[in-house]
């Protein structure tokens, strides 16, 4: 299998008045062509910053990014902004969480859709408009011709997200970043959008990075999963292996806290007590130690490394579930 993106020792920090905020710490990831990888974590775990940094979308004087990101044989970190931008659309594309704020409110859907087609693929106005209609059909928007002339505010959340997806896949990208693509949507629409993404991945032979806080969404839509906590990858495995046997106490706690339809009614839900550590001062030891139910003395003083068991399941824990490393 070929690797489409390889991230090595990626660190991102923000210079804040209180000190350096380390949002992403030493992340290594390989994304194979044609696969889908899930990035799971709570708000503030660094999953969005990680995916934006990987695409080179974080700019600004207060951002420090180190490490390497190699996309399709080219090193993004060494490229100029202009060069990185040229990979957008045809190479990498992103779907954002909130479809209302990501679309331009004062431009018609048709014009937003054809922009990429004209700039990236050099299509004529007429050809771009025809292709836009095909794209709307592809994402199952009824009456596509009429939709081209509408404004975002005239659409429901689910329809807007379909338009966003159509824009993202317009130039047939090889790698799609989907940042919480269904979090703002109803469960029924969420199921439809996830099904659409599965279809499109097959049809366009596209790799996908699915960023989400919901392990339930990851289960049916990814080949492998990286769980992030406090800016680090704390567990990594194929989706099947991960759900068959979690090693990291954090992942287990995250799974247990999901409300489920087969939960006995009237029974208390299990929770992860406390919250993420202060990102400016995380202290020594394991970042999850203060909230971990299996915590021991060593966890507070020594930071655990990311280690692998014989079948390639990675975890960052001194005392993993399921016994010795």
């Amino acid at each position: 299998m070929t690797t489409i993106m390889s991230i090595r020792d990626l660190n991102v920090s923000f210079d804040t008045p209180r000190g350096m905020l380390e949002a992403v710490r030493g992340v290594d990831l390989e994304i194979e062509a044609g696969t889908s990888i899930g990035i799971v974590g709570e708000s503030g775990s660094g999953k969005t910053v990680m995916s934006r940094a990987a695409m080179g979308l974080l700019q600004g004087r207060n951002v420090r990014r180190t490490g390497t990101v190699v996309y399709d044989g080219q090193e993004l970190t060494a490229m100029t902004r202009e060069q990185v931008r040229n990979t957008f659309g045809t190479g990498m594309a992103m779907i954002f969480q909130d479809p209302m704020t990501a679309l331009n409110p004062v431009r018609r859907i048709g014009s937003q859709l054809s922009e990429g087609l004209r700039v990236r693929l050099g299509l004529s106005k007429k050809a771009a408009s025809a292709r836009s209609k095909e794209l709307l059909d592809l994402v199952h928007i009824p009456d596509a011709q009429a939709m081209l002339h509408k404004f975002p505010y005239q659409l429901s959340g689910g329809m807007r997200q379909r338009v966003m997806i159509a824009i993202a896949i317009a130039c047939k990208p090889k790698l799609l970043f989907a940042d919480e693509p269904t979090t703002a949507l109803d469960v029924t629409v969420q199921a439809q959008i996830l099904q659409l993404l599965r279809e499109l991945r097959q049809e366009l032979d596209m790799s996908m990075v699915l960023v989400t806080h919901d392990l339930g969404v990851v289960a049916g839509n990814t080949d492998s999963v990286a769980v992030m906590y406090a800016g680090e990858v704390v567990e990594y495995a194929t989706t099947k292996k991960l759900f068959a046997g979690m090693r990291m106490p954090y992942t287990e706690a995250l799974l247990q806290s999901i409300p489920k339809v087969d939960h006995p009614s009237g029974k208390r839900l299990s929770v992860i007590a406390g919250r993420l550590p202060d990102p400016i001062d995380r202290g020594a030891g394991c970042s999850f130690a203060p909230r971990c139910q299996y915590v021991q003395a060593k966890c507070h003083t020594e930071h655990p490394p990311l280690e692998a068991d014989p079948d390639g399941h990675l975890f960052r824990c001194w005392f993993p579930i399921g016994g010795a490393k």
Partner: protein, 329 residues
């Protein structure tokens, strides 16, 4: 679904809230009318939690607000502890509202960013002249402790300094300040992370037990309401589809829409992925709802009868009421 009827109404003395044939419509110009809630009836007994579940646009939030007369419904009655709120003069309604409080979906924007936490919680106490200054301060401390916040650490801070979960705790403390007997929670956890959702759901359950509350819990996610509800009412396009206790509803949904909602919940297990056909499309416009059963345009079992006749709620199993001509039995 999507029918009317009152077969599920109970005739016991411990009914706290009883809503009959509630209709809420909004005029949106050019003679068009949004039929947000069309003839919904339900009741809630003392100490019970009623969950109202449905997609965006089904009228669940409008229904919750109409109970509080925000705005007053077009027709129908809302009887709370024996008083019909729709008939009350404005001033009496204002004081009646102190015993029914609401918690909103977006915890951050529902708190005034310029007010400190102590002001936020004190405001209702001051307006209704409850206790002297010292008693109020004590009350604020107790409330904050009860919702799991350290009073010394939070009292002088403002809402933007808190996370979504903490803001929701502050909203809960504020809602409880006047000792309400009923709490209406409108999607209280849908803006929160899964790990925080469970904390807030447990907290609401604790507060219900501690303050002896009766609750209406509005959500689009059936999985979320499973743990907290005693009775679930599924709504679609301004009408009631199904009413049942959660254990019955989740195990044997009788309405096709309830089943579709259940099938949409993601399963956190890659080996047990649903293979059923998903609900296609989106709900039709509430300005021009379908004739007969409002769900028929998306229903796999729709027949000619569904076009002509609106189904009425009827009991199909003990405690389970469904408005469908062709229920799943």
């Amino acid at each position: 679904m999507a029918g009317s009827g009152t077969a599920h109404m109970r005739n016991t003395t411990d009914v706290v809230l009883s809503v009959r044939d509630l209709v809420v419509e909004f005029r949106v110009g050019q003679g068009r009318v949004v039929k947000a809630v069309s003839g919904v009836s339900f009741d809630v007994c003392k100490g019970e939690t009623l969950a109202i579940v449905g997609e965006s646009g089904c009228g669940k939030t409008t229904l919750g607000k109409a109970v509080l007369q925000l705005p007053p419904p077009k027709s129908g009655e809302v009887v709370f502890e024996g008083t019909d709120l729709t008939q009350l003069p404005k001033e009496n309604l204002r004081s009646a509202r102190t015993s029914m409080q609401m918690i909103f979906q977006d915890p951050i924007s529902s708190l005034d960013p310029r007010m400190t936490v102590s002001r936020l919680i004190e405001e209702p106490l001051e307006i209704w002249d409850r206790g002297n200054q010292q008693e109020r301060a004590e009350r604020i401390n107790t409330l904050l402790n009860n919702v799991g916040l350290e009073p010394e650490l939070v009292l002088s801070r403002r809402s933007y300094e808190f996370s979504g979960g903490q803001c929701q705790r502050i909203s809960i403390a504020r809602a409880l300040a006047l000792d309400p007997r009923m709490l209406i929670c409108d999607e209280p956890v849908s803006a929160l992370d899964v790990s925080i959702q469970a904390q807030i759901l447990n907290l609401l359950q604790d507060m219900k037990d501690r303050y002896g509350l009766t609750m209406i819990f509005i959500s689009h996610d059936l999985a979320v309401v499973k743990a907290v509800s005693n009775r679930v009412m599924v709504m679609y396009l301004g009408k009631v589809c199904e009413v049942a206790p959660p254990d019955v509803l989740y195990a044997k949904p009788a309405h096709h829409y309830t089943k579709a909602l259940l099938d949409s919940v993601p399963i956190p297990d890659p080996t047990r992925q649903a293979t059923v056909a998903l609900l296609q499309g989106e709900p039709p416009s509430p300005m021009n709802p379908p004739s007969g059963c409002r769900f028929r345009t998306r229903c796999p079992a729709a027949s000619a009868l569904c076009v002509e006749q609106e189904p009425q709620l009827r009991e199909v199993a003990p405690g389970q009421f469904v408005a469908c001509h062709h229920p799943i039995l």
